[in-house]
Symmetry: C2
Subunit: 317 residues, 2 copies
């Protein structure tokens, strides 16, 4: 029987874990991220692995290694800092060592969550046929990662920041403080903030009613999708702008890199799905320098399991 | 004695040839590109090699191979088409075979002129210390080429088109027909056309007087540099816009790729030199996602010999 590898996708709100035997998911678990500090987060990660090992009728046995994707700046098996994980704001957090000790010394590998998600789609998802592609994750923010000539691009550690591509000089303010970035138009957090601003100026929108109906305190991807389905004019306009901004940023990336494919995922990208991806392709294609040979635009195949599966691949699956 | 390799940089107005022994230039020649058709161009290329072999006091002997950089779409040793070389507009032109026959069967390698110029700066110029850099050639148009992880990036054959990065949606028309590209602001041809348009609308400029004084029928890089030195307000504004557009396009490329260095050359880039490169760095740096670690911004070392030296490197030097 072949070895088991755990993959953990650590996020600010949830911890998603899978157990892979070769490329098959044989166990999984999903828990809320404790909001009480780093020790609680690390303990919850270990518990999530144990829970995933008890996923089926019989407990699994023989965990060989673990891979972890974490937001923030990663150095070896340490998180230098991660503003979005409770207790990880000021590091370093000895994630690898602590997790390994909690689980009987199993070796742990760690990388950035976006890079790990690209790895997942590349090895086990929509990116399998390609040696050159860009993964774009449209979620709370907009992240990206590149596979070039069959290698996951690292640069000096910060490659793939397509969310901070300028699409309109002097445009909407981005979470990073600069103006006119892709993330300011296509990121979920910025879309919600913009809707609040427009509402305060008197524009009508059902977005916040949908939020309440669903018992949410923020405009999740599901809330945005629902308001879009209701043709809420504010949300229609925000999604139009997201499509426009993605069209520019992806065309610029394509003209520079001449990729085979672009995979669009992330919470909002996955939720809006194929119709959204097709609209982005329509916005991108007229801007290509070689329009007769556009890159394939694809949805993710792994959806929100991509990070955890990619973490398992990192771990050796 | 080690072998000699010829490198030919074929352009729409000139043919620049060098002979390299190891990395030393031991011969060179520069002739106008015949405007009478493909056969005349191919004959002039062969003559330019013979002339370069007679550069010094004694003729050189033992040409081992030839490399050529040509504008346009390249397939193997054939130019599929090249709108800027007389007679090459509709190909295919059997450049490699014809040139080889004219020079006693010496093997010929061929690639795109911009890629070859990047190769030159990488192997023998400003790019030597780096395994990750972008070469940007600001000339009649704006071309670019990428070295990533120690490999010249090809993509599917069209990588590096940074000139067609969108910097202002709906902005100035580019030579390619689209609006708001880098080349529309930083390319020499577009700068000249813009100056003519502004003059027709009543703006005062000395640009065309400088052209006449220098006996030129177009705003060459030298003409633009001279008008800039005279603080001509139209040229000052055009160069300001070129700096602004380069700042955006290079910041976007850097945020996506996390490069070690960017080398700025081309006719206009080389002519305006270090002060221009420093201004581009100032425009780019505030737009970087990791501003504390900007890429090194460099001028070319080989200047307008970069294409010919790179062609010789392609040929095996």
């Amino acid at each position: 029987m072949s070895e088991l590898v755990a993959g953990i996708d650590l996020g600010g709100t949830k911890i998603q874990t899978v157990i892979l035997r070769e490329s098959e998911i044989v166990g999984r678990s999903r828990v809320a991220t404790p909001q009480t500090g780093a020790d609680a987060v690390l303990a919850a990660m270990a518990e999530s692995v144990k829970s995933a090992m008890h996923f089926g009728n019989e407990p699994l046995d023989g965990l060989a290694s673990i891979g972890v994707g974490s937001p923030g700046v990663i150095q070896g098996t340490t998180v230098a800092s991660s503003p979005n994980v409770p207790g990880f704001e000021v590091g370093p957090i000895q994630l690898g060592d602590t997790l390994s000790k909690s689980l009987g010394g199993v070796p742990v590998k760690l990388d950035n969550d976006v890079r790990v998600a690209v790895l997942g789609e590349w090895r086990q998802g929509a990116g399998r046929p390609y040696k050159d592609f860009l993964g774009v994750f449209v979620g709370t923010g907009v992240g990206g990662g590149l596979v070039l000539d069959g290698e996951l691009r690292e640069g000096l550690g910060a490659a793939g920041e397509i969310g901070h591509t300028l699409v309109r000089d002097g445009g909407r303010r981005c979470g990073c403080g600069q103006l006119g970035h892709l993330e300011a138009y296509a990121g979920r957090r910025s879309m919600e903030e913009t809707a609040r601003r427009w509402k305060a100026k008197g524009r009508r929108t059902k977005l916040f009613d949908v939020m309440k109906e669903r018992g949410r305190d923020r405009a999740t991807s599901g809330v945005i999708a629902k308001a879009l389905a209701k043709h809420d004019p504010v949300v229609v306009q925000l999604v139009d702008q997201a499509v426009w901004a993605l069209g520019i940023a992806l065309a610029n990336a394509q003209n520079l890199l001449d990729l085979e494919a672009i995979v669009i995922g992330g919470g909002l990208g996955d939720r809006l799905g194929r119709p959204f991806v097709d609209r982005v392709a329509e916005a991108m294609n007229p801007r290509l320098h070689v329009p007769e040979r556009p890159p394939k635009l694809l949805s993710t195949e792994l959806g929100d399991l991509g990070g955890a599966v990619g973490a398992a691949v990192l771990g050796g699956a």
